[in-house]
Amino acid sequence: MKVLVAVKRVVDYNVKVRVKPDQSGVDLANVKMSMNPFCEIAVEEAVRLKERGIASEIVAVSVGPAAAQEQLRTALALGADRAILVETDEELGSLAVAKLLKAVVDKEQPQLVITGKQAIDSDNNQTGQMLAALTGYAQGTFASKVEQAGDKLKVTREIDGGLQTLELSLPAIVTTDLRLNEPRYASLPNIMKAKKKPLETVKPADLGVSVASTLKVLKVEAPAERQAGIKVGSVAELVEKLKNEAKVI
């Protein structure tokens, strides 16, 4: 089957972000950017499906600025066959991204779309589900295991109380949880090979998708700072403080 993997360029997960003084957003100038960790897991899963003979072709797609080509090259180095960049400088919401991905799905007709469960910048956790709604496909969100079962897909999901297993008709959308797999590193020869793999660029207008938004960010603030408290010297002192000062036990 053909697999489409969506990846996002985000601020690296180790970076401690700073809010801009004018409260217009988070300062991303000269900050290290990477592939969203959940998207890395999505790419890895697609590559493993190909290694198991289930996937025949892997197409990586990203919606983002020209610089997101770096993340697509990473996906190619990890094992994707070709890549599509839907290039836009606007910061799009999940619905607009889902609509753009729907246009790509219509063109590519994959049997399976894998996305991360959430991007670590917007923390929305929406795009995969929205794409499933727009395409009418079944969804297997927060997946920690994906298996083929005949013409269906068996997906184990992480839910609040534990794990749940669903069977989905294909084509389907799967969003990855952290425990789905351990992503590999791209080797230098594979990075070199990835430079020769095809990377197509399209604009939202080429896809006939309007990215108008009903959501406006009025301001972005730093959260209330939590002050460091005190260090206690012994267990007895800790218990005394919790009982008499904090009154929580």
């Binding site: 972000v17 670590i120 079944a138 297993t165 406006k216 960010v217």
Partner: protein
């Protein structure tokens, strides 16, 4: 203006997060209706009718809704949503699963995990693992919102007397089916609503050593959580994970044992009222947010703490 709140439940009992979500609906204002979608969920509907401030309970009782599969419940909710200005669901794994599907069917953007209501169209939500708080305004005709339960004090679960009305949707979409589930059984309180949470990290060294935390938790009536490192190392089940990618908790007391305090973990617990850190590394970042820190070997501290309580 009326708000539709989607109830969280397991077909037998109403989950506490529903009461927090109703509180968010009250902050928005207007009539509040609750939808109970499930299978043989009459008891849940009756419990929902008793929630203070709820004027109507809609019940969609159908085998297709038994496990809240998104493919089946999203069209039901989207159909009902036409009569409402707001649709709210708790940001549980269920809510996160079906609600964006509802929003896309309605062709509106969803606002995820709000922590405050500024006005009926303006909300606050954390982004970048809680390292920034965005204030967003929506001009969508129907505002579809998931609610971070720990950010809203629950309304009373008793005292209301709402009318119960049956509704039906399109039923089984036929694209997905439930195979099975493995629910972790525990006598301890539920992690997200516990008053006290004790969490272990990589410093616990083994799953066996989590017994020390369980013993302490039983003394305090606490729930036990874990950092991602502890879950990945197999010390604890993954539904115990506290953090950006796990559960968000805000108990009265959070005790972090052998947890360094990475950004991703702090995102899940830094709104706790009192934080206690027990760690042998005095430089661990967890001490920067802890009200009370104890620099010591957890294997000596935990048994002593248990003895003194």
């Amino acid at each position: 203006m009326a708000t539709l709140v989607i109830a969280e439940h397991d077909n037998a009992a109403l989950a506490a997060a529903t009461l927090n979500t109703v509180a968010a609906a009250q902050a928005i204002g207007g009539d509040i209706h609750v939808l109970v979608a499930g299978q043989q969920c009459a008891a849940v509907a009756e419990a929902a009718a008793k929630i203070a401030g709820v004027s109507k309970v809609l019940v969609a009782d159908d085998a297709a809704y038994g496990h809240l599969l998104a493919e089946n419940v999203a069209p039901l909710i989207a159909g009902l949503a036409q009569g409402y200005s707001h649709v709210l669901a708790p940001a549980s794994t269920n809510g996160k699963n079906y609600l964006p599907r509802v929003a896309a069917l309605l062709d509106v953007e969803q606002i995820s995990e709000i922590v405050a209501v500024e006005s009926p169209d303006t909300f606050k939500r954390p982004i970048y693992a809680g390292n920034a708080i965005a204030t967003v305004q929506s001009s969508a005709p129907i505002k579809v919102i998931s609610v971070r339960a720990t950010a809203f004090d629950p309304v009373a679960g008793e005292g209301g007397s709402a009318a119960i009305e049956g509704v039906s949707g399109t039923g089984d979409a036929g694209t997905s089916s439930f195979v099975g589930e493995e629910i972790a059984r525990s006598d301890r309180p539920e992690l997200t609503s516990a008053r006290v949470v004790i969490s272990g990290g990589r410093g616990m060294q083994s799953g066996d050593n989590f017994k020390l935390l369980y013993a302490l938790a039983d003394k305090l009536g606490a729930a036990v959580g874990a950092s991602r490192a502890a879950v990945d190392a197999g010390f604890a089940a993954n539904d115990m994970q506290v953090g950006q990618t796990g559960k968000i908790v805000a108990p009265d007391l959070y005790v972090a044992v052998g947890i360094s305090g990475a950004i991703q973990h702090l995102a899940g617990m830094k709104d706790s009222k009192v934080i206690v850190a027990i760690n042998k590394d005095p430089e661990a970042p967890i001490f920067q947010v802890a009200d009370y820190g104890l620099v010591a070997d957890l294997f000596e501290v935990l048994p002593e703490l248990e003895k003194q309580l």
